[in-house]
Symmetry: C2
Subunit: 759 residues, 2 copies
């Protein structure tokens, strides 16, 4: 399975740098050209370490109390991508001579990205050139670049110059609120040296004072001699030799990265890890990479049958999620993964609501790492709650790297209190799916209690109802609203889950530590329970739907059909107040609530809600269409679900939002997986097991996926009129299919219902 | 009548610079020391020209569409305050030697500020030193400084060095949202020369590219010789001579200012005006100043009897309003007048709602000038409406100098659509009080129609009601709300008034021009009428009060008694979301609506509303207590009204908000006058005349004021159990007193009701 692009198209280059980035959750390297970008072609050349950031003061013309004061931005670190080729006196460049058979291929089974081409030089000499790259899942500090060149019709001298550059800058665009506004330098080289063929460069961020190191070494095949040149900001290795027509030579560049958030002595440890790396050649590391991915696909593999583009997108999404996710309890998943600087490399609720479920059901160890990363931010969340005027509890930052709030526009930033519900949801479903009560005692309970507490302080009682005013729900086209249905539902589930967890921990004698750490009083659990039961959930009885918030349905309805296409996304063309005063949604909000928290909600209200909100939703957010796909399936509209799913699958591969250049839309990739599992297969997680409600749109022959539930590995195959559930490892389990309970020991076949979503 | 401060108190200096500024509506000069500020004493040395600004880009970390992009800031212009004294070899300074009899006095009858003292030099020589200043109301480009010194016990050499400095900077404080965040240079000297004893300096603002000129000349008494030194940024005149014990010598410094917003050739015209200025000596200009003020007090004079501090504050407020108000149709009234740089010298609704009524009823010509200044901003208001997503109409900028929006935090800036209602209110009451239909045809109608139109686009129809969503009312502790009572009431009055005006103009054959300029369709007037009649005004029938907005009364009530005193003003200690989610008011909102728009409102609801909102209002805004004072009087609580009035009167004189250093609170000064006229005397303007409802609190013996209604000058005196209405000029008029109609030809006496506010 691979992602493939043929031919060099200058206008597509910057977006292909995103598509063909290589990453492993620690390190990410955009698919920039080793030899440099042809003049006039837009490129964002970048290499990133998950969670490695610089900070800067946030300037406000009118600064009010509690506004986030320090920005954090993922840093474009030392650039080791450069390898320039001098072929018999002619410099290889796509802007000179002629290029044939240009191909870029990311093989998601082996985790190797290949760029190959045949270059005819201005003087007419033809050379086959192949670059391969990988970011190792086995040794996350390691990125490898393998360059191979074969003169087809000439012999002569070649020179390969491989660079390590510390003169790196950030990408920027002052007119796009989704990107950093000021292009700037964040990294300063602190030392550069060469020692036994290893070029070591260390650098420090200008304000956060984090340090990093990069160690580069080379191995080659062919008769080269190597020399090094170390400058203040740029080090280079030059390999000089001769080649013969028809004979290939190759160079492997080992690029090792370390940073001070994970390593005590980044420079020394970079050299150590470089030593380890050099023990294998490129094929050796590629083989290890394959083995790692084999195991991954073994437990996670999913397919869409009879629809190659969707299938490719699904697999690529899963692969890229794996490549984006921090696995060390420090790095989380940036909204752009490790593929670009969009959204400053921040972590959002995207992780918990859109990406976490994939890991939870396929790679629970990684899911746990992600939760550990959130748990580590709890002290910052407690501080943030105080800044926001809460005397108790914790409020997770809407966007952050280390946990402190980095949102400079709080109405669609810090006001999104539902981030607390998202974090809680992830912890609770982790417990649900894994049954790992120890982890919940050690890490989960404290997070859940502190964040649950916040709801009690943020909300208030009125006329026997518990209400939550002045928050922003997921839909950023209505900010600072009262009783956002999504938020209140999320808080309700959060409070209930926290009570349930505390009871389970107590029953197992495991509550005491969390109780002491949080000074949890017995009465507080009663308050949680009480607030959850009395949670006010706005409902419009005329329309028979849940209301997005207290005021939403009384606002003026925006007729989206009257707005010219070029004025989308609306946020780029309308003042926020225009959006706020209309019934218009950037993304799924109440519909998302119905996806996550359907328990006890009226079926007809869910269906009517879908219909109502669909008409006023622009999907200007990449978090929207996957949810509508799943809820279309849920409400008995498989063909509609398919339409949304197709757009979800195309988002980055076809750049339908026009900003894939800034990085992948990682949440949407989670949506691509969820669209199959929670969408078409209709999976819902319950305390007593898994529940399915499979459907199959006409345009798919079938689909299959694997998942793990409390130690049992299972494959689900929906095809040919039936759903097949096969236990692949571990004990049998209880399943519900179309609300019918089954016990599955080996396999279960259930005919697909035509109208699966209807109940 | 004078404002007097005795003794030099370093900690009070910067605030006294505000109190003792001299201004005339064009030019303002803070009361900084001629000889310079003693080391370690905070000073904001400033001179300002009304509406003379520099611009700068507003930087946002997350910039959304339509956010205000250009800031305007009043510029601290060339400093001509400096006169240093060398007395027999010793430099005069308050930080050396000893100071006795230090007095600062602003005489508001003559408009002259005097600082006098007796200085004993380090070597023990005593000198009496007196500085006098005025900013001429007759020649607004002119400020005069008169320095007089008399050696008491010595004879010898003196040197006076009088400076003109272009090396001026802005005041700043990055942690106060009410002030500029970055101290910076805004002015660049473009030329400096001396010619026949006149020092001319021209300068240009760095970004707005406005130019200004300052021309300085000197006259003296005593045997001095003068020399000049012209530098790139600083010019100086040095006067050297000898003095004898017991004999006074004096210097008059003529400081003339011009700017390119009013003058075609500021440099040439500054010299011309300087020539005019030199025709009179200081006593001559002081006499003219007195005559001007005599005429002002003649038509505007007001007194509070038996309460000297209040009386002084009232007179000072009236004087300062006069000194703050632009009278050329270009300058308006900055929220700090011309006394400081707070709020960047911007114009707000403060003008129309708090200050305009004073001018309207005492100096209708100045009122008209203020309206002309707003009318000139109409094209910018139309542009602003487009930026905010309105396809028709005009929306005045919340804060501005030239008309473009300068609010960098729109939830308590541009979202305050009620600015349109305030501008309309001023135009409509101008018409009401003056009957000047020509002006309304020429300037008013277009403004009213364009701004009225905006309501139709901003609001919408639902279930037969006209609703206005997502705006911010006057209370900035609740932002972006739906159906703010104040806003909707204001829009209703605005729409009705516009219809009434258009009908009156049509009946007089004067509508056509405005109709053509605005493309007003007949149907639009019907829409205005219809929307006004169907305006939704939220009312809580349980509480029996008008609701501040749809959601306000269902929020959590903040118990102000539980908040420590040092946490006020709340905006400096709580995140906006904390404030937004509570029932807490920064200032009068619904109560203000009841003051401005009482017609047809239920009396009991007004009274209960006052009681309800009073408990949750912090008065963190200086616009609040004066309104509560008036509404306390209105609702039959004269003693309560007195308490609020006392605080209103003390605000700047006692610096009760702690920021008088940044400039006066001009709106509060309007409130100080309104508190007597609309508060205790209970004046309301009606289409058919004036209505009074006088009351007298125990702590006042009485009060009197003068006003003009359609060419009739009247004095009102409330004292000794009765209210006396005396016609002073012009024809008799109809009055309503306690809802009883009277025709007054000469005078009318009505006994005061004990419970005047009750109806």
């Amino acid at each position: 399975m691979e992602i493939r692009r043929l031919g060099f198209i200058p206008g597509e280059h910057v977006r292909r740098e995103t598509l063909f980035h290589v990453a492993n959750g620690y390190l990410g390297m955009r698919g920039s050209f080793e030899e440099g970008t042809p003049p006039g072609v837009r490129s964002v050349r970048g290499t990133y370490i998950n969670g490695f950031f610089d900070s800067s003061d946030i300037h406000y013309e009118e600064k009010l109390h509690g506004f986030a004061s320090i920005q954090q931005s993922i840093v474009n670190v030392i650039d080791t991508q450069g390898i320039s080729l001098d072929l018999d006196g002619e410099a290889f460049s796509l802007s000179a001579g002629k290029v044939r058979d240009f191909r870029q291929v990311l093989d998601i089974e082996t985790g190797v990205y290949t760029r190959s081409l045949i270059w005819t030089s201005p003087r007419g000499k033809r050379t086959e050139i192949v670059f391969r790259r990988l970011a190792s899942f086995i040794l996350p500090s390691l990125a490898l670049i393998h360059a191979e060149l074969k003169p087809l019709d000439w012999s002569g001298a070649v020179r390969l110059t491989s660079s390590q550059r510390g003169d790196v800058l950030q990408d920027s665009d002052p007119n796009d609120p989704r990107k950093a506004s000021v292009g700037r330098k964040m990294l300063r080289v602190t030392s550069a040296l060469e020692q036994d063929g290893a070029m070591l460069m260390t650098a420090e961020t200008l304000h956060s004072r984090l340090t990093m190191a990069s160690a580069v070494s080379h191995r080659w095949q062919g008769g080269f001699t190597i020399g090094h040149r170390v400058g203040e900001m740029i080090s280079e290795a030059m390999l000089v030799g001769r080649v013969k027509a028809g004979e290939a030579v190759s160079l492997t560049k080992y690029c090792v990265y370390t940073d001070s958030r994970r390593f005590e002595d980044p420079a020394e440890q970079a050299l150590e890890l470089l030593g380890q790396a050099l023990k294998l050649d490129f094929p050796g590391w590629a083989e290890r990479q394959s083995e790692y991915l084999d195991r991954f696909w073994q437990r996670a593999g999913a397919q869409i049958k009879g629809n190659e583009p969707l299938d490719a997108s699904l697999s690529w999404s899963m692969y890229t999620l794996l490549a984006s996710a921090g696995k060390d309890g420090i790095g989380n998943i940036a909204s752009k993964g490790l593929s670009g600087e969009g959204y400053e490399g921040h972590y959002f609720w995207d992780t918990e609501i859109y990406m976490f479920p994939f890991f939870l059901l396929t790679s629970p160890d990684i899911a746990r790492d992600l939760l550990r990363s959130r748990a580590a931010m709890l002290p910052e969340a407690i501080r943030h709650a105080r800044e926001m005027g809460h005397e108790v509890g914790a409020l997770y930052a809407w966007r952050t790297i280390t946990g402190s709030e980095c949102s400079a526009y709080f109405p669609s930033g810090s006001a999104q209190y539902h981030i607390n519900g998202a974090v809680a949801h992830a912890f609770l479903t982790y417990w649900q799916v894994t049954g790992d009560l120890s982890f919940m005692a050690e890490e989960g309970a404290e997070v859940l209690i502190q964040t649950a507490r916040l709801w009690l302080d943020a909300g208030h009682w009125q006329a026997g109802q518990f209400r939550i005013d002045s928050v922003t729900g997921p839909d950023e086209y209505s900010c600072i609203v009262n009783n956002n249905y999504y938020t209140n539902r999320s808080a309700q589930s959060h409070l209930r889950g926290t009570v349930k967890l505390c009871e389970a921990l107590r029953n197992n004698g495991m509550l005491r530590e969390a109780q002491e750490r949080t000074s949890l009083a017995e009465a507080e659990l009663d308050q949680f329970r009480h607030a959850a039961e009395a949670m006010y959930l706005p409902f419009d009885s005329d329309l028979g739907i849940c209301a997005q918030d207290d005021a939403f349905l009384s606002k003026k309805r925006l007729d989206l059909s009257q707005i010219p296409k070029e004025r989308f996304p609306l946020l780029m063309h309308y003042h926020p107040l225009f959006l706020y005063r209309h019934q218009v949604c950037k993304q799924a909000d109440t519909v998302l609530a119905h996806f996550l928290y359907e328990e006890g909600e009226d079926e007809a209200a869910i269906r009517r809600g879908y219909e109502y909100y669909e008409e006023i939703t622009t999907h200007d957010s990449s978090l929207s269409e996957c949810i509508f796909s799943m809820m279309a399936a849920r409400t008995g509209r498989p063909e509609k679900a398919y339409d949304y799913y197709r757009r979800t699958a195309a988002l980055d591969l076809e750049d339908t939002h026009g900003n894939t250049a800034d990085g992948i839309h990682a949440a949407n990739m989670g949506g691509c997986w969820m669209g199959i599992v929670f969408g078409f297969a209709g999976l819902r997680l319950h305390w007593n097991g898994l529940a399915f409600r499979p459907c199959l749109p006409d345009k798919m022959e079938g689909y299959s996926f694997r998942l793990t539930w409390r130690g049992t590995g299972m494959q689900v195959l929906v095809q040919g009129g039936e759903a097949l559930f096969m236990i692949q490892s571990g004990p049998g389990l209880e399943l519900s299919v179309y609300d019918q309970e089954y016990r599955v020991e080996y396999e279960l076949r259930v005919p697909i219902k035509a109208n699966a979503g209807e109940t």
